[in-house]
Symmetry: C2
Subunit: 101 residues, 2 copies
Amino acid sequence: MLILHVHVRVRPEFVADFRRATVENAQASVREPGIARFDVVEQQDDATRFVLVEAYRTQQAVAAHKETAHYAKWIETVAPMMAEPRSRAWYTAVCPGPEGW
Amino acid sequence: MLILHVHVRVRPEFVADFRRATVENAQASVREPGIARFDVVEQQDDATRFVLVEAYRTQQAVAAHKETAHYAKWIETVAPMMAEPRSRAWYTAVCPGPEGW
């Protein structure tokens, strides 16, 4: 299981719009067969900071996600909302095992 | 749903020991009634870096976790393995809703 954490900081005036666009993308993404989870969380002490936690079953699923219409729409919609470039880190799951995601 | 990300960097010689102790703690923690998920991931390009992603149903569950024997054992076991103090950030879940964790 390949886990991607995407850290985003948005401009304060776009927090609600970013949340809406990102939920729409997450709900579509989690229906992709190769994606087990696509969670969106917002920092408690700074509502402009979000983390997307994406769990992919295979490397192929990572590539497939990039080809979807919802990903393209999300990228285009949120690009002007970002306060700084988003940062990404890739992880492998230590636990739970593949059945637990 | 209250989400805690704990970022840990361990000394290289302790990576395997840290992984083992942390899996044991995660497997016990996820059986607590107030904990929905307790995931452990390891950074792909730096095996000394881990993130614990903990999903609590209530604030009470956060306090209850701190009182468990497995938490106390984990803290004591891994303290000497850390390369630097661990960092923590608290989030609220934007999506999925409480049923999705």
